[in-house]
Symmetry: C2
Subunit: 394 residues, 2 copies
């Protein structure tokens, strides 16, 4: 039978980088293509003790249906923590626990954007987000990202040129895929521009805590006096991605609608992972664990940057992240990194080609994303050495 798929889903294909990830599963291949947090940092012993205890002592709480908004003590704890570390949350705000940050993107689109409406994304941007937008038949408009974040002049132009702009999606801090951070000035300008035009900002901040030197730029949500920012947070990079726990904080009228959307989507987020996140924060020092993550990623990032300096052609441009999991390179010379990835695979190293993160994925790009979070120093250096060999022989 030939199935008639919905219009919204007709244009979205399986990720072109699936092929690349297939190779990444081969242990002889060094993958710089991933986005996973470092598994050695998972507090699995602690979570093991908690899980055993919760299931044994609180069977109904752990195994029965829960409420859509999320486990109340976890919601309260996340609210307190958000207020303390990001100065987020007013009396008009509410918070919902979701099944990972990705669900926050999908629910926001579903309640706010009609098919054919425009969503503005950074160019490049996180493919999980751009594909979520595509899956609702949304028109994507890209705004170039610079070393200090979105080009605000370009943003204003894009708003003027597009109809029904409903959401500006941004990862302002340690952006995926570029690893850059939007300046405070640009955050303020972005906020004012969105406000002036009646557009909602979806601020996605999964990496914000992973600052290498401890400095933090204020979140856009912390400036939100008008209830126009939806803030998406996640435990994926600071506790565990496999648990699938995230949260949205926004004006309570927005959250109310998002709760209805979540109810018909998955009823509620799995209870046991919610209990693990809550009890872990209650019993252990999450902030201390985050400090260790920062050191770990900072070290790995330096290792990669040093190797890039040594092995890549001298005219390759690259970002120098202050946090997060990714760096971004531009080979220039109108090269096509999708084509070059085949040569890289021959050398047993993989990366994600830049076109993957663009609004038009079919246009060749000279850029690529590198990830440093999951490997040993030796693998990072060897991976960059192999890539350098490919890039020097083009």
């Amino acid at each position: 039978m030939n199935y008639n798929f919905s219009n919204r889903m007709s244009n979205i294909k399986g990720s072109a980088i699936r092929e690349i990830f297939k190779y990444a599963a081969d242990p002889s291949v060094i993958s710089l293509a991933g986005g996973n947090p470092a598994p050695e940092l998972f507090p699995n012993e602690e979570l093991s003790v908690i899980a055993e205890e919760m299931l044994r002592e609180k069977p109904v709480l752990s195994l029965q249906y829960g409420i859509t908004e999320g486990y109340t003590p976890l919601r309260d704890k996340v609210k307190q923590r958000l207020k303390r570390i990001e100065n987020i949350g007013t009396d008009d705000d509410e918070l919902i626990i979701i099944s990972g940050g990705q669900q926050g993107i999908e629910l926001s689109i579903k309640v706010l954007v009609n098919e054919g409406d425009t969503v503005i994304v950074e160019e490049p941007s996180f493919i999980g987000a751009t594909n979520a937008f595509r899956s609702y038949g949304v028109h994507l408009a890209g705004v170039p990202v610079e070393e200090d974040g979105m080009n605000i002049d370009a943003l204003e132009k894009v708003i003027k040129e597009n109809k029904n702009v409903r959401i500006i999606y941004t990862i302002p801090t340690f952006q995926n895929p570029m690893g850059v951070t939007m300046s405070v000035e640009k955050r303020k300008k972005l906020y004012e521009t969105a406000k002036k035009n009646g557009i909602i900002i979806l601020e996605d901040n999964p990496y914000g805590e992973l600052t290498f030197d401890g400095t933090k730029v204020p979140t856009i949500k912390s400036m939100d006096t008008d209830g126009i920012v939806i803030y998406a947070g996640s435990f994926s990079k600071i506790l565990s991605p496999g648990l699938r726990i995230g949260y949205l904080c926004a004006n309570k009228n927005l959250i109310q609608k998002i709760v209805i959307a979540k109810q018909v989507s998955d009823v509620h987020t799995s209870m046991l992972p919610q209990l693990l996140a809550y009890e872990y924060m209650e019993r252990y020092d999450l902030d201390g664990a985050v400090v260790k993550m920062r050191e770990n990623y900072s070290h790995k990032c330096s290792t990669m940057l040093n190797a890039v300096g040594e092995y890549f052609p001298k005219d390759v441009l690259y970002t120098k992240p202050n946090g997060g999991l990714f760096m971004w390179c531009d080979l220039g010379h109108n090269l096509d990194t999708m084509e070059i990835s085949k040569k890289a695979i021959e050398q047993k190293v993989v990366y994600v080609p830049g076109n993957t993160f663009m609004t038009d994925m079919n246009k060749p790009c000279s850029t690529l994303r590198l990830n440093y979070s999951t490997m040993t120093d030796e693998r990072i250096v060897e991976g960059i050495r192999r890539l350098g060999k490919v890039f020097c022989n083009l």
Copy 2:
């Protein structure tokens, strides 16, 4: 700020029965309104041991990102079990693990139905499904349910009278909310009707295993030689709803699209609950546990039926379920069970009024749903006694 919500979400409101569930939280109130499985049947000790071991010994598997399709050993095990107990699964079929049965409904609509298209539902039907359809701006068309399932003549009429009918949604076995089961003859006719008209059947079967006397009617999916049936199954009623583990089995081309939709929805289902479901089936006797559930629910259902016979007015019509969690009553006399629920609350007993399950929720109904799965015999009898008092004094 006044938010402009998407058209699809504009018409969907928070459930009217939320008020009723608020009262249900009061321990002096007897709730016949729920849909929860019996908590005394949760194998929490077994799951506690498994969770402790998984997190301790398999930290990466438990806590790192997984693949969207689901944990492969769990998928294989569910496939084997489905084949064995329901004769479901051909070489053309594939199976995906989802975050509870509800997600299977949402994903199916998302990939198959455009806004304004028609979805046919049983009248009455599960509100989680009807609300999911509403949340995509779908036109709902109802087909009356009889003691032996959907009225097939009415179905054919509804198909003729509506444009772009894309899905027929059915809970053929121990239907929610009526507790009735579609006959084999009607299943065959439904299948042929759908096939003739190029319509996909979404067969939702969360209660199918909970047959009181062990007899089973063949699933519609087991008759699916044309790849037109999407089968939604769930661990919510046979293991735990709080874990949020379900699955969809359908033609592989459909599943392929559904995988893409799931990827942008929540990336993958939480790993630890998947591991618990798999290891529980691997180490313990799920089929044996299901037999105990059947006995438990069969006993509770009899208790309720006996009490209804004793305390309800003699002209009240009601279904006599052979399985599942629900029974359905019709008070007749053009009574409005939504209005009457206020009197029931005064008597400290709650139920779900029938209009909740209808395509037009604003039209008064003389019907109501009763649930018997979560209470002791004493509470069931006392709840029905209180309700009987209300109904006898109208």
